[in-house]
Symmetry: C2
Subunit: 375 residues, 2 copies
Amino acid sequence: MGPMFSYKITHRSSECGARIGEIETPHGVVNTPVFMPVGTQATVKGMSPDRLSDLGAEIVLSNTYHLYLRPGHEVIERLGGLHRFMGWDGPILTDSGGFQVYSLGELRKLSEEGVKFQSHLDGSTHVLTPEGAVSIQESLGADIIMCLDECTSYPSSYEDTKRSMELTLRWAERSKGAKGGNNDRQALFGIVQGGMYEDLRRESVAGTVDIGFPGYAVGGLSVGESKGLMYEMAEIALSILPEDKPRYLMGVGTPEDLVNLSGMGADMFDCVMPTRNARNGTLFTSKGKVIIKNEKYKDDGVPVDDDCTCYTCRNFSRAYLRHLFMAGEILSSILNTLHNLHFYFSVIRGIREAIVGDRFLSFKEDFFNKIEGDL
Amino acid sequence: MGPMFSYKITHRSSECGARIGEIETPHGVVNTPVFMPVGTQATVKGMSPDRLSDLGAEIVLSNTYHLYLRPGHEVIERLGGLHRFMGWDGPILTDSGGFQVYSLGELRKLSEEGVKFQSHLDGSTHVLTPEGAVSIQESLGADIIMCLDECTSYPSSYEDTKRSMELTLRWAERSKGAKGGNNDRQALFGIVQGGMYEDLRRESVAGTVDIGFPGYAVGGLSVGESKGLMYEMAEIALSILPEDKPRYLMGVGTPEDLVNLSGMGADMFDCVMPTRNARNGTLFTSKGKVIIKNEKYKDDGVPVDDDCTCYTCRNFSRAYLRHLFMAGEILSSILNTLHNLHFYFSVIRGIREAIVGDRFLSFKEDFFNKIEGDL
């Protein structure tokens, strides 16, 4: 086995809160800021592990909720753990399943003990507790695992948000207890909640840091609030979270979010956007989005993005990608996903290089100047 | 551009009618016997061209009917032809579209002139003639193109089959006339029909050879008849087709068909079976088929085929492949297709090596002895 879990900052921006770091895990080093592609059901949709590696993916996220229900964490454990199961020997992060219980599970019933829900697959009843979420994630064997939290919907009243944030704190304490405090082989991250209320965010950070974790996530963002409000809440948390621990913005975000929030000192991101949009035919480029099904691309012999060096752009025209999409071909999802992930990894690599070179602000200006449409 | 079209036999089996040959095309050499994966809509479903190359595909088949309807052959021609469009710079064969008109088109009306049909995509009316089929295939630019034929269904009366076979002969003559007789850049193959009647098959071969083509296909096989009858009809055609021209069995077949019919002197095969079965979760192995969704594979940590060296078998367990299939993941189709094509290419490579080594009969015996179930 490889080394234990650790995090170190290798460079601090002279211009802003951005920083460069290295997360060492038993399955290799992750350079931060990092974007983690989402492999919900033990596969990043449309991508084989060798492609992911070639694209420069350093760590993959997978979902406890999905794997617990199918094929079952015991199955994965018996087969040697999630890394071997999915053929990915790099670092893996699993979420706690909490967010998916709230967004996918049916007939949810929340209590102090945990959350009772019905499977979206077969209606069977399950209970997820903080201790259970840790135990499932121990079976899966990811390098970084997450505390079970409650994620309030948006908008949510102050009282509901406060009650939920406090429950999340008590669950964080139980999670840490269940884990036994040894973060060498698997690092358990705490999750900050508090909705859109500054004082609750601050209270959540203080409480979570007080319990003490090797890394901290900010949850409950990008749940329907405005971009401005999201950045405000992220900035509050990022500004008071410990300097010497990685900071992970869960479920964030767009390419512009990666740029803006790295500038505030965020280290880790995950989002389904590059992979999901790819399957829906929306491609990211340095100049903005390309909706590949548009009639105007029917005869368009140029690549999606002239500046792009990915396999898709080196070999195929917009016209071909449009044809594949219209024809419902599997290769459409493959080539589009490949391109979008390549774009995301290019953006995050650009961010890292700019921070290292102490030219993050001019990088950011260039990045936004190039965009003609929305990102 | 590369060399012109030619075919030469490099070795004849001392044991049977099998032979080894090379088809030279403007886009490279094809070693025969060869299996051609089917890329219906300008993509072999689930496979990117680089994967196909890595697997050892030497030539790909694509469908005139589909490409004529979507995106349109003019679009593909304007974009530089089918090779550039689909990013495959090896040899391509296109069929005439005839078989798809009969199997997919609606409200077909056959006349001496051609076949009128409605698109399965939008109900629009089209007429496909022998001259039109040649012209469309010239736009697409494949290395080997096919005459428009009529394929009788099974069973079919002697009179209907004879009438249809004679029409196919007249269409073959018109196709050759439309092509202008120059087979250097694109070789136009004739198609033998005649259903399940020996004398009609013989008459069809004689008539088609009389018109004269640089290669000959045997059509109308694997349309519902028994395996014995199919082999009988194939053997008749193969035994009297010219020695010095490639012989292509259209839409054939199973791995065992490749072995049996190569032994009778067939040079080219195509079939959707490896790719379609892959998407349905049926995997070919040297010991027989594996139905990956079966419950018994849930905890099965070994590869699909112990003897297989493909990417799928080197990296993933049956349990993982079952999980991907049950979860409806795109990677299921990718990994299964990759394995099945690898298996087909291994079989055809084994056939070639056995013919070259004059040990085809013992190869064939071993091949069938290994199989525990059906292939």
